[in-house]
């Protein structure tokens, strides 16, 4: 059953953005946009999160932080890069300390364009991410089944 799509919990991380995109992310939680309608909750804990919303182009100091956060999230998980900075480094691209996009450090599933990205776009990006999340979950359970079957086959092989 697909509960995952109905209850995506979000982790929001600011990887050296100008704060513009972050304000738009938080705007999604206000009464006007109210993403809790879709069961979306903004959690501060990577271990509870399903979707990582990340803004900014990642600088050398928060590179390990981003990787750490990503690794702490339990599978299945998706990453949504928000804003021009998160996609390519944006206006900060030429800076000596900027990695130039989130996908330089961790795999990204959805890019939301804009400078700053609008709340409607962010919600749209999250909804896109949900179907990817669902795909990943199916793949995960599929893999678990294959592993299980392989194990059974191996055991049966030993038995005979």
């Amino acid at each position: 059953m697909a509960f995952l799509k109905r209850s995506p919990w979000i982790l929001h991380y600011d990887a050296s953005s100008c704060n513009g995109c972050d304000i738009e992310v938080l705007a999604c939680l206000t009464p006007l946009y109210d993403v809790e309608r879709f069961g979306i909750i903004n959690t501060g804990n990577p271990k509870h999160a399903d979707i990582l919303l990340i803004t900014g182009g990642i600088n050398s100091q928060n590179r390990p932080v981003v990787r750490n956060l990503y690794e702490q999230m339990p599978e299945p998980k998706v990453v949504v890069a928000i804003g021009a900075c998160a996609a390519t480094g944006g206006i900060f691209r030429e800076c000596y300390n900027i990695a130039g996009g989130v996908d330089k450090v961790i795999p990204v599933d959805v890019y939301v364009p804009g400078c700053a990205a609008r709340p409607e776009q962010i919600i749209d990006g999250v909804v896109k991410a949900l179907s990817i999340l669902e795909e990943k979950r199916e793949k995960m359970t599929g893999e678990a089944h294959t592993k299980e079957e392989a194990r059974h086959a191996a055991e049966a092989g030993e038995g005979t």
Partner: protein, 287 residues
Amino acid sequence: MNGLIGAVLFLILAPIAGGLIAGIDRKITARMQGRVGPPLLQPFYDVGKLFEKENVVVTTAQNFYVLAYLVFIALSGAIFFAGGDLLLIIFAFTLAHVFLVLGAYAVHSPYSHIGAERELIQVMAYEPMIILAAVGLYMVTNSFYVADIAAATVPAILYLPGVFLGFAVILTIKLRKSPFDISTSHHAHQEIVKGITTEFSGSTLGQVEIAHWYENIFLLGFVYLFFSWNPVIGVAAVAVTYVAEIFVDNVTARVRWQAALKSGWLAAAVLGLVNLAILSYMTIGGA
């Protein structure tokens, strides 16, 4: 026999009722904040999702402790609905929380440890009042057995208004609502990460959530005891109490742990003890 049926019904129905109440809670909260809010069944989606996720285990001991927490919460509620001894119920209930705290301490994470410490402070804050509530009900009905208290014809609330108010104060602590949601809460998802549940994820977190549903139903059952001489008034009082808790949750900010501890003890000392003192004076005078 009746008791057994009560216990079984509780074990089966409480998660359903608890989840629904949590859904209504979130809906009312959203409306109070001018939002639409999540679907009514959202808590079930959340827990269903948690069981679908990968289970990241830091120490295997933590899963064992959380399971013990769930079992003992369910046990204390089952004894309650079986009409058992109120004191035994309170001890089982406290033990359950000790397991939750141990589960959080089992992981080497400062956030989890802060949450565990705060949970211990909460236990300290509500424990005196919950025992006084049991004593008060005993003084009115002459029995510690829930079955006898529920069957009593005296309106306990008229004898125990102070005790009831004190109980309402610690109910806020127990339901993890503001201003006393210091160890973990439903709304503040950003403060000291997630408190006591920081290191629990996937199905382990789902178990914590289910335990919380059991716990809420048990606590609302406790509220009902004060009004049990008339079932209609009883159910209405439980509903009013819960909506009042949601209201308080939405209009107050979280206090510091010192204030939470003081409020719990002040409620016990002033509302609880004074009420009981007057009650014992009256009954001795009357005899």
